[in-house]
């Protein structure tokens, strides 16, 4: 385990050598068996997806519900097996392995899940929760590793004796992260790790993930439906839709020049403060705005009714012709 000292760029040390994860034409088909009242149904959650996660990268996987991003995450993490195709993690083929054979993978790869309450056993103390993967792997020095992990996520090791319900959502997510990094993995997968958190907590958790990824030279795979979060964290991104890889590349490139119409739609749907404020200005200025400017999707003509809905008690505090932008220049 090489630990580089700080520096926002985690790439240098491990850039050499094989990629962290290689996914080769992976498909996953779910077959729902025919029941007494319903026909059999086949769902192709993933259909021939190929991608490469370079070592030390911060790699985003983005898509809507049903895009297959969670299935892909599970297959990479060895929690599910592909119907066809191959997954290589740090040079080792992990496809078709199970149980004991995946011990090696589990040493190298850990997952932080979305809902910290659902993924922390309420009957276990924090110390036990963080220690569990270490004990499962028969590591020595469990106690020290637990203390170190808790300290790294900004928690006092003295809390090891407490239970999950005694913590806030943000603190629980820190505990999940501590559990994931305690075994010193090379790859950390975060599955919607900040979706359940409010903006303030989200900001601190994102910062924490970035710091830890840099300090431990981790490869970070970040799964989310929120492109703006992916943009903040990831240097590369892959866009999934209905089991297919739509587009992949450096995040800034995908963000600024999306090649696929689907990606463009996804970007347009992300509400941004700039666009929202521009629309709010129009409404406040009585310019007969058009409701949700910039929001793709439902474009009911009936929306004109919204513009007619001028606020009754419109506040006097109003500035004429304000300059655009509240610090979020894109």
């Amino acid at each position: 385990m090489t630990v580089t000292t700080a520096g926002p760029d985690p790439v240098p040390d491990r850039a050499a050598g094989e990629p962290a994860v290689v996914v080769e034409s992976v498909s996953r088909r779910f077959v729902r068996r025919r029941g007494p009242f319903r026909p059999a149904r086949v769902v192709d959650a993933l259909d021939g997806v190929s991608l490469t996660v370079p070592r030390g990268a911060r790699f985003g996987i983005v898509g809507e519900s049903g895009s297959g991003k969670t299935t892909l995450m599970k297959i990479i993490a060895g929690l599910d097996a592909p119907t066809s195709g191959r997954v290589t993690v740090a040079g080792t083929d992990v496809t078709g392995r199970s149980g004991r054979q995946l011990d090696d993978l589990r040493r190298r790869l850990q997952v932080v899940f979305q809902d910290p309450m659902g993924s922390l056993d309420p009957r276990m103390r924090i110390g036990q929760i963080v220690a569990e993967p270490l004990q499962a792997q028969g590591r020595p020095g469990v106690r020290e590793a637990v203390d170190r992990a808790l300290r790294q996520v900004g928690l006092d090791p003295a809390i090891a004796g407490r239970y999950p319900h005694q913590f806030s959502g943000g603190q629980r997510q820190r505990i999940s992260i501590a559990r994931a990094v305690a075994p010193d993995p090379e790859i950390l997968i975060a599955d919607e790790a900040v979706s359940a958190l409010d903006v303030t907590v989200r900001a601190t958790i994102l910062e924490l993930l970035e710091t830890i990824a840099a300090e431990r030279s981790l490869t970070l795979i970040f799964v989310s439906h929120d492109l703006s979060v992916i943009r903040r964290v990831c240097d590369r991104v892959a866009v999934l839709r209905a089991g297919h890889l739509v587009e992949a590349g450096p995040t800034e490139q995908v963000w600024s020049h999306p090649q696929d119409a689907y990606t463009r739609g996804l970007l347009a749907a992300v509400p941004t403060l700039d666009r929202a404020l521009a629309a709010a200005r129009q409404r406040a200025g009585g310019a007969g705005g058009t409701g949700v400017a910039g929001v793709a999707g439902g474009t009911a003509p009936g929306r004109a009714g919204v513009a007619a809905g001028e606020p009754a008690g419109a506040p006097a505090r109003q500035r004429a012709g304000g300059d655009p932008g509240a610090g979020s220049g894109s």
Partner: protein
């Protein structure tokens, strides 16, 4: 495409006064006060947002307005709703059940918990119409279908026969909105209505909230931790921190020219525009 929905009656009687007038609202347990005096006046069709971190008191405030706080919490101050003779603070539960679903509609974050898993959608939408007797029983069936159609649900007839688990998250939230607006309330309270949804579904549900609330002349009180979402929906914003309203004003003023340090902090935290690698 504005389909006429529901019974042809409207609260036009109370035309010009505020729809909602909250004064000095305080909420606390016996020992600790949690919300320290909120004042809020909402005009007809006005859309007001409350932002703030978890625990800032925004949900408590909305729950107090709807009379949904557990009895062990002490509420003082005043909540007046147009057309209701008495103060909603301390009002008997019987009065409040007549107000909720009739004059105040509500949409919460998790549509699955807002819907009854054992009842068809038809029965759940019909229930709110029949309970408040806003629609004669004979017409309920048709009105239910109209309401479902008005929220853009495809094949309203099939949706009406479905159970909540057979619908997607976005469809469920549309059903919840149909129920919330069924009786054309004066006030629609939305507490993180799109937080559990994908961005694209979120966009369509936000559009729908704007369109439908305007169609029935409802004012909207909207809570979200997503500042861009609040700015999309609301004319005016209240910023809450630790039970205090620390700043309020027109959306553009508060978010483009924040005056309170906490508002500035919220804006900084929400800003994800710094690309990877340049952060921190």
């Amino acid at each position: 495409m504005s389909r006429p929905v529901g019974p042809a009656r409207n609260g036009a009687a109370e035309a010009d006064g505020p729809v909602l007038q909250v004064s000095g609202l305080r909420i606390g347990t016996r020992r600790t006060e949690l919300v320290h005096g909120v004042d809020l006046r909402m005009g007809r069709r006005e859309r007001v947002g409350i932002i703030g971190a978890s625990g800032s008191g925004k949900t408590l405030t909305c729950m107090a307005i709807a009379g949904l706080l557990p009895p062990e919490l002490v509420v003082t101050g005043s909540v007046r709703l147009a057309g209701v003779d008495r103060d909603l603070v301390g009002a008997p539960e019987r009065l409040m059940t007549g107000v909720r679903g009739r004059r105040i509609g509500m949409v919460f974050q998790e549509p699955m918990t807002a819907l009854n898993p054992t009842m068809t959608i038809r029965r759940q939408v019909a229930e709110v119409l029949l309970r408040h007797r806003t629609v004669p029983r004979s017409a309920a069936r048709r009105v239910v279908l109209d309401l479902l159609a008005s929220t853009g649900l495809p094949e309203p007839d099939r949706i009406a026969r479905s159970y909540p688990h057979q619908l997607s998250g976005g469809q469920r939230q549309r059903v919840v909105l149909a129920i919330a607006l069924a009786n054309e309330p004066q006030l629609l309270i939305c507490d993180e209505p799109t937080t559990a949804l994908d961005v694209t579904v979120q966009a369509t549900v936000l559009d729908l909230i704007l369109e439908r609330s305007a169609a029935v002349d409802a004012a909207v009180l909207f809570i979200s931790h997503d500042l861009a979402v609040v700015a999309t929906v609301c004319d005016r914003i209240l910023v809450m921190q630790d039970g205090h309203v620390v700043e309020q004003g027109a959306t553009v003023d508060v978010l483009a020219h924040p005056e309170h340090p906490y508002t500035r902090q919220l804006l900084a935290d929400a800003d994800l525009s710094v690309p990877a690698g340049e952060a921190s």
